[in-house]
């Protein structure tokens, strides 16, 4: 067994299963994408924001999986197990069992069968470097806003979902009428799950994390607690947030008065009716 395999596993356990070993503060560790090379690779996480006076619940760093909503945590653990088994087959991880037992009632095989590319790559095409990059990207994707989105869309009771969606609708309605108005950071934080948190990559690789890009995928698996109408929820979210996009594009476009947008697809009449000196603060009521 090689040192770097042990180190890969240690990093993986810390990132996916929780900070059970002493973390190296915000100073990152080797990504191990260089596992069989002679050089080292580090991640240095900087944030002037975190030292500032404004505290936000949405850290830019991936959230510890160990502290999130239990049913979603189970899914992420099952996904993690898929990553681990794949990495072990490749020689990225040492050949031994994970200390963490399989997630409750979730078959890790779902994550293999749901990721066609992985199935293909298992036959010998996948390299250590590619695997390491996919793994790191999957971890990087799990921001606090993204986890909130996955939880609300896939697990939240209807009342909670509607409540959170209504906040998005209210902001959208406000910005449609007053795109220039300032929106408080607290308000943006409260709907971040529906903005950056709900960014689905169109060209995502079909890795074990692919289910996060396909809002209906978990309905095909027997995952406890998943709502049956995640597709309808996604459609409702798309409709609710669309006016926010129109308003922001209109505003950005308008800042460059001489820049003509020949597409003409997003200048809404309601936005155009508002005078530019209007400055309202939304969300501090």
């Amino acid at each position: 067994m090689k040192d770097w395999q042990e180190y890969s596993l240690e990093t993986f356990e810390r990132d996916w299963l929780g900070p059970r070993r002493k973390p190296s503060a915000s100073m990152g560790s080797s990504t191990s994408s260089d596992a069989n090379a002679l050089h080292l690779s580090f991640l240095l996480a900087l944030s002037s924001f975190s030292r500032g006076t404004h505290q936000s619940p949405h850290s830019f760093a991936p959230a510890p999986i160990g502290v999130i909503h239990r049913p979603l945590q189970n899914v992420l653990r099952a996904e993690g197990r898929c990553w681990y088994l794949l990495g072990r087959d490749l020689g990225y991880f040492p050949d031994r069992e994970l200390p963490e037992p399989p997630a409750d009632n979730i078959d890790a095989e779902f994550f293999f069968t749901n990721s066609e590319k992985v199935a293909g790559e298992r036959s010998g095409v996948l390299t250590l470097e590619t695997f390491a990059m996919w793994l790191a990207e999957a971890r990087e994707d799990l921001s606090v806003a993204r986890i909130a989105f996955l939880r609300l869309l896939l697990f939240a009771p209807t009342a909670e979902w509607e409540h959170e969606l209504e906040a998005v609708r209210r902001l959208a309605s406000f910005l449609s009428r007053r795109p220039w108005a300032a929106v408080s950071p607290v308000t943006v934080d409260s709907v971040s799950w529906a903005l950056s948190g709900a960014e689905l990559a169109r060209d995502a690789e079909r890795t074990p994390a692919f289910w996060r890009m396909d809002v209906r995928a978990l309905n095909e698996a027997s995952v406890p607690g998943v709502v049956s109408n995640s597709g309808e929820r996604w459609t409702a979210l798309e409709q609710a947030r669309a006016p926010i996009k129109s308003a922001m594009e209109w505003l950005v476009d308008d800042e460059h008065g001489a820049f003509a947008d020949l597409d003409g697809e997003h200048k809404s009449d309601s936005a155009a009716d508002v005078t530019s000196d209007e400055r309202l603060e939304f969300g501090d009521e």
């Binding site: 002679l38 050089h39 080292l40 580090f42 900087l46 470097e129 990087e140 950071p185 950056s196 922001m248």
Partner: protein, 264 residues
């Protein structure tokens, strides 16, 4: 050292670079440091100051507590790096320039009291920038960014009134003063190599203004690569690797790669 740009991430922006370690000698002999920050929330100056203050942990000598396993730490800590290359893309280019500018300014201030004070080793760095936003957004650039990057992340940036939107207007104080102060410092202290960048632009670049500083070492453009693609190497587009290594990115190389693509 790699510093990503707007809405970038360590993986999204630089994921292809480490694969160079398997193919190219220069990369096999290099250690790679990827810097992560939140471009939607963090201020340019704040990240730049952090970068300035944290890089000495890595250069010229690596602190052993960042290394595992321990044996590796012992092995590596006995070495001092031979060179430092700092690469930035887009907004990351502004952060890199600002960090080195402030480092140089701090040294000059300190030298008033200690005339023999040597410049910090970090200022020996070679600075390589991919389509830096150091001249700000071009007209329509913000809109192009909205449409080329993750749209909802960009919208959130706009809602937050992120400094990426406010400080990167071509006439903003950050843009104007960073250029003016850097050019002035290079004129006075030409030995501070980190202040003079080598720049590769996307062509066409519909996000940022393609204007280098008067004091930069070189400035060239890569035809057919967008703002987002310009820093992402692959087997058919080796310019980013070659550029970071320090080789000149010639039109000949680009033509050669273009022909290789056609015949493949």
């Amino acid at each position: 050292v790699f510093v990503h740009g707007f809405l970038g991430g360590v993986e999204k922006s630089w994921r292809a670079f480490p694969t160079g370690t398997a193919k190219r000698r220069w990369w096999k002999e290099s250690d790679l440091l990827f810097v992560r920050y939140d471009s939607a929330r963090d201020e340019i100056a704040g990240v730049a100051f952090e970068l300035r203050d944290r890089l000495p942990d890595f250069y010229p000598t690596l602190r052993t507590e960042y290394l595992q396993p321990a044996t590796l730490g012992e092995l590596v800590s006995k070495r001092e790096y031979g060179e430092l290359v700092v690469a930035g893309h887009s907004l990351g280019g502004v952060i890199v320039r600002y960090a080195f500018l402030e480092l140089a300014a701090s040294w000059i201030r300190a030298r008033r009291n200690t005339p023999d004070l040597q410049p910090p080793r970090l200022l020996e760095a070679q600075t390589r920038l991919f389509s830096p936003a150091s001249a700000g957004f071009r007209p329509g650039g913000k809109l192009a960014m909205f449409r080329s990057s993750g749209a909802w992340s960009a919208i959130e940036m706009k809602l937050r009134k992120s400094t990426a939107f406010t400080d990167l207007d071509p006439t903003s104080r950050v843009i104007v003063n960073t250029q003016r102060r850097t050019e002035s410092l290079v004129a006075r202290e030409p030995s501070l190599t980190a202040l003079s960048a080598d720049v590769v632009w996307a062509r066409p670049d519909n996000v940022v203004l393609a204007e280098a500083y008067e004091t930069d070492n070189s400035s060239t453009a890569v035809k057919g690569k967008s703002h987002r693609e310009v820093c992402k190497p692959n087997d058919a587009y080796t310019v980013p690797w070659v550029f970071v290594e320090g080789e000149e990115v010639s039109q000949r190389r680009q033509s050669h790669e273009g022909l290789a693509r056609i015949f493949s």
